[in-house]
Every structure is written in C-alpha cells, then in structure tokens.
C-alpha cells in the first residue's frame, strides 16, 4: 500500500447538494479511502461506496477531470483532484 496523499474532492450537482459544500480536502492512500473520508465528513453522501466496495451507480468519479474511474483501489498522488458528480451527466 502506498503512502497517504492529501487530495481535494470537488462536488458537482447532486453531490454538492448532499455534501453541503463545493469541495473537501482529505488525506488518503486510495480512492476508496478518500471516499470513505468524504462519507464521514458529509453524512448526506452516506452510501457513496456500496457494501461491496464499489461506487454507487448514481455517482461518477473523475481524477483531475481527465479520466473517469471505477477502481476504488487506485492509489492517489498528492495534489490529485477527485471530481464527484451525478451519473446522469447529460441533459
């Protein structure tokens, strides 16, 4: 397991409503750990990570806005920005 990284989680759409904030800085080694930290700080986002360890189907997660991922074991690097948004991204 890698070392802990400080990353910023940005919230868009429904996640922002549920979180009650635009962003949150957390320390985590993996995406899964980062989202667990989000759930602890933002109770409105409870259920973000399902009991089977996967991202809930009505959310999407992007790393730095460049690519999307569903692999919550992915290690984080310092300065990463995680974008959490509604799955129904379109109109």
């Amino acid at each position: 397991m890698g070392s802990t990284a400080e990353v910023t989680v940005e919230f868009y759409g429904i996640p922002r409503l549920r979180a009650g904030r635009a962003q949150l800085i957390v320390a985590a080694r993996t995406l899964g750990e980062a989202l667990a930290a989000v759930e602890r700080v933002c109770p409105g986002l409870a259920g973000l990570v399902r009991s089977d360890g996967r991202l809930a189907s009505h959310y999407l997660l992007s790393i730095d806005g460049r690519r999307f991922t569903t692999d919550l074991d992915e290690p984080l690097r310092p300065g990463n920005r995680l974008l959490l948004l509604s799955a129904d991204a379109g109109g």
Partner: protein, 663 residues
C-alpha cells in the same frame, strides 16, 4: 387491438378533407409508436425530395401505446417532418395534456398535408375535424395563443401552437404546448407554412390495455423507482446543473465553440440560479419526476442590468436622449413574410429601451441546460437575468433556443472577424442577443439572414465562415463540446437529424471509465450505437429519457411494460431490433432525400483547432480519427463503408416496404 386505435387521421388542408387510414398490428409492432411510427408515416406520406415548406410536405403528430396509461412520463407525443433546416428527417418530442387529448381524439397519429389559404386552427374533437379562422391569433406569442384558445374552446381542448417565428417560417421555429416544445429542426416553420397557428385536440375515446391490473402494478413500481437517486438531478436541480460540471471538464461550448470554459460559469450555474431566481417546480401530466424548474425573468420595465460579459465594455447604440427619452411603446416590426398582412389587433407590444427591442414584459420561464448554454456562454453572456429574459423571449416567439443561440454566436464571431458589419454585434452583448431574437423571429434586417440558420448564413457570409458555423447537416450543435467529448462527437456527426444530444446519448460513454473522452476510438462506436438504440426505443414507446437511469435492462423491462399494454409476447430482443430498425428507417429517409457521406462530419474547427483551456486543454479531433470512428459506427449499424444500407440489412430489419434498397 390493445394500446392502439389502429388508425391514423389524415387531414388535407388544401382539399378540406379528412380520412381515417388503418394501421395494422404488424406495422405498429415493428415501429411501436412515437418517433418510430412517425418514421414509418413520413416514408409513406412524404413525397420524395419535397420542399419541406411546400403544402404537400406532411407534418406528423405521433402518439404511442403507452399514452393514456398510468405509466409515469408516458404523456408524450412526437412531431416529425422533413426539416426545413436540414432537409433531412426531423423528429422532436413534447409532452403533457396534448398527448392525452390527441389519443382520446381517436387516433394513433395525425398527418397534416396541404395548406390553408389564411391563418387557421385545426380542431379535432373525437375524430370530427374542422378548420377555423385564426386571424385574431396570428402574431401572438405561444403562451398567449394557448390562453386565447383555452378561453375560446374550453378546458376539453389542448393545443399545440406556433409563435411568430413559425408564422415567418424561421427555419428553427418550434411547436409548443403548455410551454413544452417540439424544439429542433424547424417543425414550427412547417406548421407556419401551412398557415396553421394551432392544432387543438379533444376526445373521449379511451384505448383498452390487455392487462389492466398488470399495467397498474407496473405503473406503481415505475413511479416508486422514479423517486430514487437516478432522477435526483432532474428533480432537485434540473438540467441546468450540467453547466458547472461541463465547465469543470472544459466541455462547455463558449463563444461559438472557441473555448470550453466560461469565466462567468459560476454566476450562471444551476446552483446560483436556483438560489436567486427559482420560483417553482412543475411536472408534465402523468409524470412523477417533476424536472421543470421555473425561474423569474425580470421585467424590462425595471432598469436593465448591464451585460456581464466583455460586451459590457461595448457602448450600446443608445439614441440621442438616452434610455429614458426612448421609453415608449412602438409597434412590432412588420413581417417580411406572408403573415404581415394578417396580424391581429392584439399583437403584443414591443418596448424600445435604449434602442433595444425587448419583450413587453417579464415573467416566469422554464430553463434547461441547453437553453442556458446557448444563450449564455455560447454568446459570451454572463448576466443570468438577461439569459432568463432571452430564454423567455425565445419560448414566446417560438424559437429553438439552441439554434437561436448558436446562430447569434456564429454571427458574433463573424462580426469580430470582420465578416459581418452590425454595430454592437460582439460576444457578451446581451442587449444584442435580445434584439436579434426579436429580429430573427420577425425576419427583420440581419435577423432575416440569421433566421435561415448557420449553414445557410455561412453560405451568404462566406470568408471561410463555414469552418466555424456550428452545425451538422444544418442543425446547430447542442451544449457538448465535441473535442472534449469525443464519443459524443461521433454521435453528433452521424445523427440522422443532425447534431443532436437527444437521439445520441454518447456523452454517457465519455462520462464513464469505458472510453477516453479526449481520444475517441473506433472501439467506442458500439457504445455510441447502444445509446442511440436506447433513445430510439424511449422515443417510440414513448417514455421520458430522464427515466432511463431507473432501468436495469431497458429493453427487457420495456418489453414487459409493452406486453401488459398490448398483449403481445414482446421480448427485449425484439425491442432491441425495433430500435435498430427505427434508427435505420430514419437513415433510409435521408438516403432517399439525397444524403451523402460528406454530411456525416463536424465543422472544420473541431478537426483542426485545439481547445485552449482547463481539463481539455490541447484536445482536438483529427479528421482521420473521426473517420475511423464513423467507419466503426457504420459497421456496427450493418451499413456499408459509404454509410448506405445494404439489402441484407434492410431485409434483416424488415424494412423492405419503406426502403429504396441500396446495393
């Protein structure tokens, strides 16, 4: 027959005749309803190579087997015609009580051909057809037209209407019902060319379903699921929530697609709009989602704010004496078109404030992301009140907000490049946006050119402007930056009605881990096809696309719904094939009308200019990459390398009766 009347009503306005035409169960099962049935009927009713605005060009209103059932979001109707904007197949959807009343009127579809000699309304009451004069309505905005008709006809009738833009044959005029719009491709111009101000329907003929208890149980289940997280965005924020998200991904078309981010995105965001201007949330008839977020557009009788973009630096063309001196009621500009001689005495006043023509009053307006992006960032306008006012003006005048915003943005870039001369025509000048909206609807001055859409305008303007005219097949692009969403770029390029976000949902692929949104690939073509097939099914059933997230397996679950309504032993595989059939039927129509492979592309800008900003910085979609994706798409569709439909595919999809088979 369950779920259907088994017939359509054909009205010939020129001959003053109406007839019922049978629809067999075999045809209905192949094409389902909605857009699918409309595609079949256009093949049958539309003379090849017809001028879309000629009397003989048909206008089709198509219902579906689910209309009138308690299934949530099923109160919808499709409208289809050969588009005056693209001269290709065009369909658009709207919803609510018109759909319910039209089905009760006794038909599965209404086909209108011919034209009236004077402004008229078409009344269909339980199958009885009459045409009444409408000179008193000609010139009225859409909402006032519906109000007048409600007063005249009573609450049994529900009307689909056009505004002044449709009367004046603006090539992207809409058809409206209860502030919901069959918006794209100029269907309102087709109706206006027939001198039809409104189609009003009423009836009492209910269609039986095969399994009433089963339908009721399915309706309860679907409604319950519609309250869940899959529809939360639509319910709680509306599609305007997309704006901030797209901006973050640098996928927000800005200043005529020159940028993917807008510096005023935060002020225009759904979150800010909701906090500052939202006044209500509403639903279509028979809908449990409630996606319609209503905002307050400020009255122009109060002092107007300055525009928020760089246009605020531009001096407005104030007349001598300034704003106060010019505040006076002036008559609307006379129509250039045929409607000019018949406008009623009750035409709404236009107010001249500081040299600008603005709508006569503020009020409430429904706002969606597409309207917000097109009248805001695309035109460089960051003032939310001016965007709200512009949106309301488009709705009332009967203009497609996407094509309106895109055409104005295109004109702004032309002016900044010295290709057009019009004082104040610059990105960010929200006063100019409002002024042009009115001039387009009335085909006045520069508005007359812009009423033709970007493709035709570029042909007149020249100077290389076709390279940045934002359209595919003549239809202006929606709010998805193709270089930042490259699977969606494929969907936009190959769409039968042109650049379209409602017939291809390929942006869902880009917003996923299944594809690299900045490097489109042939492998993503199959995924794009699947989004088109899902859209074709939803548009034919008809169910709202905002419901799509509640289905685990759309095809299998839809088959179960359809079986309960029709009594057919429909399967998911059958509906998957039906969806592919409907997509190919639309392509066959385009082939018949002269489609060539060169039409399946994007404007040169997207293939050569790099996006400058943010999370999509450097993105471009080189032509060879797009071509490889298009080839993969054709292959996945069973079409040949030239995008034509081979006999084998026609036969496999059971389309021989409508196909001009291409070998």
């Amino acid at each position: 027959m369950f779920g259907y009347h088994g017939r359509y009503l054909r009205v010939d306005l020129t001959r003053g005749a109406a007839e019922w035409v049978p629809l067999s169960a075999e045809v209905l099962r192949r094409f389902i309803g909605g857009v699918g049935l409309a595609a079949y009927l256009l093949h049958r009713e539309c003379p090849p190579r017809v001028d879309p605005l000629a009397p003989e060009a048909p206008l089709v209103f198509s219902l579906s087997p689910l209309v009138g059932t308690p299934l949530t979001t099923s109160a919808k109707f499709a409208v289809a015609a050969k588009s005056p904007l693209t001269e290709r197949f065009n369909d658009a959807l709207s919803s609510s009580h018109f759909a319910l009343a039209a089905k009760r009127a006794g038909c599965d579809a209404l086909v209108v051909v011919g034209a009236c000699t004077a402004p008229s309304i078409l009344l269909i009451d339980d199958g009885r057809v009459t045409v009444e004069p409408a000179a008193d309505l000609w010139g009225l905005p859409t909402d006032e037209t519906e109000e007048r008709l409600a007063g005249r006809l009573g609450p049994r009738f529900h009307a689909a209407v056009i505004g002044p833009a449709g009367e004046n044959r603006v090539r992207y005029a809409i058809i409206s019902h209860a502030n919901r719009h069959a918006g794209r491709g100029g269907l309102g111009a087709v109706m206006g060319a027939k001198k039809l101000k409104a189609v009003a329907v009423a009836g009492t003929q209910r269609v039986e379903v095969a399994d009433p208890a089963g339908v009721m149980a399915a309706a309860r289940d679907l409604s319950q699921r519609s309250f869940g997280p899959a529809t939360a965005k639509y319910r709680e924020l509306g599609t305007v929530a997309n704006l901030l998200t797209f901006n973050r991904f640098a996928a927000l078309p800005t200043r005529n697609f020159q940028q993917g981010m807008f510096e005023h995105a935060a002020e225009l965001s759904g979150e800010e709009l909701s906090a500052a201007r939202r006044i209500a949330r509403r639903s279509c008839a028979a809908c449990t989602i409630g996606c319609e977020h209503i905002y307050a557009a400020p009255s122009p009788l109060t002092p107007l704010p300055r525009s928020g973009g760089e246009g605020s630096k531009q001096p407005s063309p104030l007349p001598p004496g300034g704003r106060e001196a010019s505040k006076q009621l002036t008559p609307l500009p006379r129509n250039r078109g045929e409607g000019s001689g018949v406008r009623g005495a009750s035409s709404p006043p236009s107010l001249s404030l500081g040299g600008r023509e603005v709508e006569g009053e503020g009020g409430e307006v429904r706002l969606e992301y597409e309207t917000l992006f097109a009248l805001g960032p695309l035109c460089g306008v960051g003032d939310r009140d001016m965007v709200l006012r512009a949106a309301r003006a488009c709705d009332r005048l009967g203009l497609d907000t996407i094509s309106t915003g895109a055409t104005i943005a295109f004109a702004m870039e032309c002016a900044e490049r010295g290709l057009l001369s019009e004082p104040g025509l610059r990105f960010g000048n929200s006063d100019m946006v409002l002024s042009l909206i009115h001039r387009i609807a009335h085909r006045q001055g520069l508005g007359n050119l812009l009423a033709e859409g970007t493709r035709r305008a570029a042909e007149v303007i020249g100077g290389g402007s076709a390279d940045f005219a934002p359209h595919v097949k003549g239809l202006e692009l929606p709010g998805y930056e193709p270089r930042a969403l490259q699977t969606m770029a494929l969907g936009l390029a190959v769409g039968s009605r042109g650049a379209d976000h409602n017939r291809s949902g390929a942006y869902e692929v880009d917003f996923s881990a299944r594809a690299d949104r900045l490097h489109g690939s042939p492998e993503a073509a199959q995924l794009a096809v699947e989004t088109e097939d899902r859209a074709a099914l939803l548009d034919s059933l008809i169910l709202c696309k905002f419901l799509r997230g509640v289905f685990e397996d759309l095809f299998a679950e839809s088959a179960a719904l359809l079986a309960r309504v029709t009594g057919w032993d429909t399967t998911g595989d059958e509906l998957r094939t039906a969806a592919r059939r409907i997509v190919t039927a639309k392509k066959l129509f385009n082939l018949r009308e002269g489609w060539t492979p060169a039409e399946d592309t994007l404007p040169a800008r997207f293939l050569s200019e790099h996006l400058p900003d943010g999370a999509s910085a450097g993105a471009v979609l080189p032509r060879p990459r797009l071509q490889a994706m298009i080839q993969a798409y054709y292959q996945a569709r069973g079409w040949d390398r030239n995008g034509r439909v081979p006999r084998e595919t026609v036969e496999t999809l059971h389309l021989t009766d409508i196909a001009g088979v291409e070998d």
